[in-house]
């Protein structure tokens, strides 16, 4: 039995990222695994889970969500025990070291990823985003090989990576972390941070399977019919001049 928790859907449910939890659940159930989806509301104890999905939200609720996760400390403990995390947008900023609130002040993050977010220049990054998984991330995600990542970004923050994380992907179209590095997202062990909405797992099912395989402690998963997702990817990626089949091989023979 694996447990998937959507963290604080009442505070961080603004951008449809709760879909990531539903997608993980279905992909486990379709393959015959026993799985449960938990909606972990704020103000209650964080339930034990194998995968935590943290989504995007508004500035005020984001500060409150970070405060609550820091105060209870359970997320950090569970990650050190092997739980996986998919953190999107405000969620990505929350699991970092610090992020700006709407008041302009910096707020502490949970510290799962060595990233720092600053307030941007006022122009929000809004639009389609395509990014290729980096070589460093490729090794951490192996044997799963996500093709070009596709999603929709919508954020004002600019996120810089520290020495303890690797960039998840390199931006091919869009802004991504927006700190001048062309990086999109960050990765450390089983914690994935990204700015991709869509939700990200709807458009990038290989990433969903990577998270599931960590939780199930397996090396491979039975294939599913992902034609609908593939059609969606083709449509969205071709819009920004990318192709879904493009996959750089980092394997050295």
């Amino acid at each position: 039995m694996i447990r998937i928790a959507v963290v604080f859907p009442d505070l961080l449910g603004t951008y449809g990222d709760g879909g990531n939890g539903a997608i993980l659940l279905q992909r486990a159930l379709w393959r015959g695994y026993d799985a449960e989806l938990l909606q972990a509301e704020s103000g209650t104890a964080l339930p034990a889970a194998d995968i935590y999905c943290i989504g995007g939200g508004e500035d005020g609720p984001q500060v409150r969500a970070a405060r609550e996760l820091i105060d209870c400390g359970d997320l950090v403990h569970r990650v050190s025990d092997g739980a996986a995390v998919l953190a999107v947008c405000a969620g990505f900023q929350i699991v970092g070291m610090s992020f700006p609130g709407s008041d302009g002040a910096n707020h502490d993050g949970v510290g799962l990823l060595d990233v720092v977010t600053h307030k941007g220049d006022g122009v929000r990054a809004v639009g389609e985003l395509a990014a290729e998984v980096t070589e460093e991330a490729h090794w951490l995600l192996a044997p799963f090989e996500p093709p070009v990542l596709s999603g929709f970004e919508n954020h004002g923050g600019r996120t810089a990576l520290g020495a303890d994380v690797v960039p998840l992907a390199r931006v091919a179209a869009g802004v991504g972390n927006g700190d001048g590095s062309a990086n999109e997202g960050a990765l450390r062990d089983r914690v994935i941070g990204t700015y991709l909405h869509g939700p990200v797992l709807a458009r990038n099912p290989v990433l969903a399977d990577r998270l599931l395989a960590w939780a199930l402690d397996v090396e491979a998963l039975a294939p599913l019919n992902d034609e609908a997702a593939e059609d969606l990817r083709n449509e969205r990626l071709s819009l920004v001049g990318q192709t879904t089949t493009k996959r750089r091989s980092f394997r050295r023979h």
Binding site: D10, T14, G16, A22, S42, F152, A202, A229
Partner: protein, 390 residues
Amino acid sequence: LKVDPMLLEHLSAGRHVALVSGTNGKTTTTRLLAVALGADRARVVINETGSNMPPGHVAALVADRVSDRAVLEVDEIYLPRVVTATSATTVVLLNLSRDQLDRTNEVRMIAGKWRAAFAAAPHTHVVANADDPLVVWGAGAAAYVHWVGAGMNWQFDAVGCPACAGRIRFDSTGWSCEARCGLVRPTPVASLLVEAGECRGIWADGRSIQINLGLPGRFNQSNALMAAVAAEIQGIDAVTALEAMSKIRTVAGRFTTRQFGEASARLMLAKNPAGWSELLTLVGADRGAVVVSINARVADGADPSWLWDVPFEQLAGRRVVATGDRCRDLSVRLQYAGVEHGVEHDPTTAILIAAKSAEGGAVDVIGNYTAFNDLLLSGTAMTDIDEGSP
């Protein structure tokens, strides 16, 4: 189009201007209130469907310089400016929830801007939904507030307290901020009561008035009660107002039937998770074929991720065809919702496909904003009665 704010001010001078804003129900409530305010044969000017920003307000007021009453539907973001420019007599605030995620319009920010605008409008009467914490915060600084217990189905966007960092707790009697910042459901002057299929407005002064509408759905009963309270502020009693509203059969094409070749399609509009939740409740008992059409154009918002917050699971077992510019996003969503479906990019073709298997060729079509409007224009109207009159 940039409109000189003085122009709107000039055109509003000497008129009683009522404004209607909120995420869902603006267009319908504007029509309901206009009909109510016209019940004493006064002339009332309203703006065209969808033209709910200042250029649309100017266009409406320029076209009718005679009417001394105006009812204007106003986009949530533009409301503060329009309140100031029109020196509005009355403002109706329906609800606030997520819509068009790519616009910079997070709901707490909008509520805060409303609040500041009403603090600076000491003569404006605000009719506000007491069941929506975001609306209550937004209206709270007004000098005259008429709270209405209009109900709210969709509470998911309102859990974080807009006044402090606390959490809003909803229960059977209302809601309040757990952090005890003081934000609590205010006592309404009128509330909606639905009992044994009968809907009534219950006023705090003891009146109980039946609400009988030609429009379907609990959400329209709420809209009518809000409009009735607003009409009373302008001197039309609620009985007369509701009687006038009961004659409206359709607003801006919502729930009308359009013919597409052999197929007859009942057209319905749902733009965001709150609207979808209401609509799926309304059509939940139906078992016929459904076409769902989703676009993500400027007026819809460019990011359809909100599809994942809509309980599409309720459509399982029905014949469903996904269509519209973003039919592929919808298709993935339906797959995970366990809803078998076909995918057809062209909406008219999708309707014809769905109608083939449907009894009498009749299908339900639910679209978001531009998807709905395109079909309303491309289909053939069936009867005059569906058209309604302004």
